[in-house]
């Protein structure tokens, strides 16, 4: 499963400072995010402990993507408090630190159509201060190291684009993986690969939050499930001890706030 030299899972996160084991990786209290005047997050409370794989599930428009973007330091925190990796999200310096320490796979892949697969991964890896020697293993790990490496991204399928974006995150070695629909557009082998990457990342000290509509697969992967509805994550009960196979706290569906 694991190949020698694979960057992220074996070596673990490198960006920014390590998180103290006692501190939650994500701590949101009454977090409000307005997008165009609309409360995309309406008083979100959430704790994520180190080593957890938290699945965010809920209907379209519930606020899952906004929650992930808030945790990445990209969406604004207008009310309430929020800390990610012990950095304050309401503070510009804190947000910049958070951004450097997380890996976000959004709906968009953040690739330049005109550049080849390798040129894209190489650019983003260097921009993220990744080690050059991590690039080649990441390309191989994601199955894009063969003839695909020299193909312009504009010529790739949706799944191949997704793999390229994942290779960037693998090079980045984030402390916190934020994956928005990571299985979307991937074939069965690709979805298995995503699950392997997530498990290996957690095994080497990272924490993962993901949203997915592939609930069977994602439920199997997650150590905890949080339902998001009406811009609020709805948790019942404490978080379980981190680690694969730990008990899950499943929430039921809930009313909008």
């Amino acid at each position: 499963m694991t190949q020698p030299g694979n960057p992220s899972p074996e070596a673990g996160p490198t960006s920014a400072r390590p998180t103290a084991a006692s501190l939650p990786v994500v701590a949101l209290d009454g977090a409000v995010t307005l997008l165009g005047g609309f409360p995309a997050l309406a008083g979100a409370d959430l704790r994520v402990q180190p080593g957890e794989i938290v699945l965010l599930e809920g209907p379209n428009g519930a606020g899952k993507s906004t929650l992930l973007r808030l945790c990445a330091g990209l969406a604004p925190l207008q009310q309430g408090s929020g800390r990610v990796l012990d950095n304050d999200l309401s503070d510009r310096v804190g947000r910049r630190r958070v951004r450097r320490a997380v890996g976000l796979l959004g709906h968009q892949t953040s690739l330049y159509d005109e550049l080849t697969v390798e040129q894209n991964v190489r650019f983003w890896a260097r921009a993220n201060r990744a080690v050059d020697t991590d690039i080649e293993p990441a390309l191989e790990r994601l199955g894009i190291g063969g003839r695909l490496r020299d193909v312009p991204v504009s010529g790739l399928s949706a799944g191949q684009r997704r793999r390229t974006a994942l290779a960037v995150i693998v090079c980045r070695r984030p402390h916190l993986w934020l994956l928005d629909e990571p299985h979307a557009g991937l074939d069965r082998a690709g979805r298995d690969l995503v699950d392997d990457l997530v498990r290996q990342a957690v095994a080497h000290g990272a924490t993962v939050m993901l949203s997915s509509h592939e609930l069977d697969r994602a439920t199997e992967l997650a150590t905890r499930i949080v339902t998001v509805a009406g811009g609020r994550p709805l948790e019942r009960g404490p978080s379980p001890e981190p680690g694969p196979g730990s008990a899950r706290t499943c929430t039921g569906s809930a009313d909008a706030a």
Binding site: Q108, Y112, E114, L115
Partner: protein
């Protein structure tokens, strides 16, 4: 900062080289503008030995810089259009790259593209309008300072508009009024470089240098907050 700037500039140039937009669209557009200006001012080539030719020579600096400026709008719009698709701007924010480095890198890429454009358009202007070259030193300083002014101010305003849906039409509206004094200074300095006396051109070259430094400084200082808002 400089490392980040070079990373961004080399990526932008690679994107432009692969897309062929500069050679296939921006450059032909500039050449067309140059030719059409020539047609507009001296429509009948049979009378070029007559006073019209002298007029064409006299207005050559202004026509050249107008052609450069209009072509630059395409290059500037393109510089941030490639970041506005597929979430690239968010990904740039997540890198932790120095915002000042991003500004300088974007500006450097535009600067190099404009210099390439100016070499071709300058040769075209020489052939079409037949302007003499009196003071090459003054001309080189004028070209460098004007190009830096256009690249720096243009990059700043293109970034400002990059998060908006109307960015394609907004960039010219923002950039052209700001660059009007640059066009004036560049035209007068170039006139002095071509026809002399050179002493008339140096104050304008100094003005262009000051404008370039002003916008370089403004970009370096303000690009971080600007990036936050886009």
């Amino acid at each position: 900062m400089l490392r980040d700037a070079w990373l961004i500039a080399s990526k932008d140039l690679r994107v432009e080289w692969s897309s062929k937009v500069l050679t296939g669209q921006v450059l032909p557009f500039g050449v067309l503008v140059l030719i059409l200006f020539g047609f507009g001012i001296s429509p009948d080539r049979r009378v070029v030995e007559a006073p019209e030719r002298a007029v064409l020579e006299q207005v050559a600096p202004g026509l050249f810089w107008m052609a450069v400026l209009l072509s630059a709008l395409l290059a500037l719009g393109r510089s941030f259009a490639i970041e506005s698709v597929d979430g690239n701007l968010d990904a740039l924010k997540l890198t932790g790259l120095d915002p000042a480095g991003i500004f300088l890198g974007k500006g450097l890429a535009v600067w190099l593209e404009l210099v390439a454009l100016e070499v071709v358009l300058g040769a075209g202007a020489f052939l079409l309008y037949g302007a003499p070259l009196g003071h090459p030193g003054l001309l080189a300083v004028t070209v460098a300072a004007t190009t830096t002014s256009v690249a720096a101010a243009g990059t700043l305003y293109a970034a400002l508009a990059s998060g908006l849906r109307v960015r394609d039409t907004l960039v010219p509206l923002l950039v052209l009024p700001v660059l009007a004094p640059v066009l004036l200074g560049a035209t007068l300095a170039t006139e002095a470089a071509l026809f002399g006396p050179a002493g008339d051109g140096w104050p304008w070259a100094g003005f262009l240098g000051a404008f370039a430094l002003l916008y370089l400084g403004a970009g370096i200082l303000s690009f971080g907050p600007l990036l936050e808002e886009t």
